[in-house]
Symmetry: C2
Subunit: 384 residues, 2 copies
């Protein structure tokens, strides 16, 4: 295919060819790879978009290593996504002191008794093994100050906050030539973040995978664009091919932030069982639940959703609930009970029929968007 | 403003100037006017779009009268929207025999005791008056065969089924030169309806007002378009200005189906309190609940949502639950407790700042969409 051109001012801001970013997806709950690992970041950036590392599952040291690995593998711009709690002063030194990792069985003793008992009951009823996994106490999410400092030290071209407002770090980032991006699910938060000085905003609609808000993308985009003005907005949630890209640009967005479609690529960090579930999904086969992390999170529908709903338990606060879902998911996987396994994914899953290289996904997206803008729209819509 | 041109093949199919339909909104639960009354239909059709009458709240005789009234007021094409239960054979003669209307207090005696007791308790605790309203037993929803026959007899240019698959009536409609439109919230249903022979499909996303599905518009549109192919698809849910129109066309839709924005016009049939609530809303101020009709329905958030949630009751089946919500809403309005009142509305409510004539809303939508397609997109996006 002849090389296509698809440029917005986002391309000039970030020094990239195409206004397409892969979402900074955090780790899957189980598995060593993460949603958006180094390989995906490099593939997307090398293809002319901008790949964003999902940094929340790394330790601070691993984050630095991963950033340096990306720099070794590409000289194109890339991003890092961290989860930043509302208040950077965590108090009590959470994540700062103590052992670097602890056995899950030990950590589980700290959660409420009813939740412990429920896990034991599920294990017994389903004949699950006593899977032992280590819980890392020193991930970037628990050491946000150090993690942010690593990004500043490494002059990461685009810093992205998947949670929280990164406005506090904008001056330091700008001093290092970096850009800062915030993610929002509603207009009020878009306004607040824009006023705090971020360079870019992602407005993510309800249909998106992972932690997601209540406002559908089509309703959210114009309201977020107005609220964030003049800060440019990227669209997220429900974008899986060039049609979504063209629609987002028509709406006034400067680009798109694409999760599920890149998760289900050769380089995407989802477990094979989760990639397969995306391929098997229709538009109706995801669910929003607090079962996974304590916050509302969209994932491929599976029997764990029902199991949790039938527990009658209140989910624990974010991120403590992850201990529960991780404990069970590790056991489900070990016992090969894959009907209880489904990874983070958006409602666009039903559009995804094939695992392809990330470069091919990006190129096809560009090709289709250009085709729409240059040929299909002029042929099908008479506007003057 | 100079007269703009915005045409798709939908315009040729329906004989209209602009590919914009006002949604066939059913009646508000309280109030004599309906969501999309004759005045709105005429205004939208006269302005070059296509107005759709919300016919579900009418008796069969009123429906015929309303259609004839529209024909008197405009010679432009228009539509009628009915709710068609899955099975047209209602059995037992529901809606066919018996009294034409009954006092609500009498009808309420037929619902479960706990629900009756809850209504009494709410009335007492909030000091509500014993409002008496008459329940019509002979609306089009309860006499679907007769209602459909009226539409066929009157050769309504566009027949729309807000609920159920209108495929069964396509041959008869086509024989009369009519077009038939179905509405869907997921890809599976889009495929089924397309195969049943409808001329057009509306794919409505989760952000839309009234009865709504789970799939966000941005995720739904490409999946519904693929599933319905080659039946053309209109977009609904989250469209409030020309940006939404342009995005829908870029996605491959042939037009848009717009509810909330037309509900909040001078001619729109929402109660003044409900129009005001739309004006006051942000993107976050609607809720989906089964409290109103028994099916999931999006309305402006108000204290009735909380009141119902705290009842601990299961909603009754559609449409019996309407008896409960109607009984209380009539009393809330009479007692001027407007904090418990909120009409059907979508998440695009936050974009709506002013009640305008429907013609102006349509013209501004066209103007903006044309501006995007002819000027803004070429200026901001380089595609080749």
């Amino acid at each position: 295919m002849a090389k296509r051109v698809l440029r917005t001012k986002l391309c000039d801001m970030l020094g990239i060819d195409y206004p397409i970013l892969s979402a900074g997806m955090g780790p899957t709950l189980i598995g060593e790879r993460t949603g958006a690992p180094v390989e995906l970041v490099v593939a997307v950036s090398e293809a002319g978009g901008l790949g964003v590392l999902g940094g929340s599952g790394f330790t601070v040291e691993e984050l630095r290593d991963a950033i340096r690995e990306i720099k070794k593998l590409t000289d194109k711009p890339f991003g890092v996504d961290l989860l930043l709690p509302k208040n950077l002063d965590l108090g009590g030194g959470l994540g700062q002191k103590g052992p670097e990792q602890l056995p899950l069985s030990l950590v589980l003793k700290s959660i409420p008794k009813p939740h412990q008992e429920w896990i034991a009951k599920v294990r017994e009823e389903l004949g699950l093994p006593q899977t032992e996994i280590m819980v890392r106490m020193n991930t970037t999410t628990m050491r946000p100050q150090e993690a942010v400092q690593v990004c500043l030290d490494e002059k990461v071209p685009l810093f992205c906050a998947g949670l929280g407002n990164p406005g506090f770090m904008v001056p330091e980032a700008h001093a290092r030539g970096m850009k800062v991006l915030g993610i929002t699910g509603n207009a009020k938060n878009a306004r607040r973040m824009a006023q705090s000085g971020v360079d870019l905003l992602v407005a993510q609609g309800h249909e998106g995978g992972g932690h997601t808000g209540r406002i559908g993308t089509m309703a959210l985009l114009p309201q977020a664009i107005d609220a964030a003005h003049p800060v440019p907005v990227l669209a997220a949630g429900g974008i899986g091919d060039g049609r979504g890209v063209a629609a987002a640009l028509a709406m006034g967005c400067v680009g798109v932030w694409v999760g599920t479609r890149f998760l289900a690529t050769e380089e995407g960090g989802a477990l094979p069982v989760n990639k397969q579930r995306i391929l098997d999904s229709t538009d109706e086969d995801t669910r929003v639940s607090r079962a996974y992390t304590g916050k509302t999170l969209r994932a491929s529908y599976n029997k764990f959703h029902d199991l949790w709903d039938s527990s009658g338990l209140e989910p624990l606060a974010f991120p403590t609930q992850v201990l529960i879902s991780s404990a069970l998911l590790a056991a489900f996987i070990e016992a090969n009970k894959t009907e209880f396994v489904g990874g983070l994914a958006g409602q666009i899953s039903g559009l995804i029929k094939e695992i392809k290289p990330a470069r091919q996904v990006l190129e096809e997206m560009v090709e289709e968007a250009v085709d729409i803008l240059t040929r299909r729209l002029p042929e099908t819509v008479v506007a003057r």
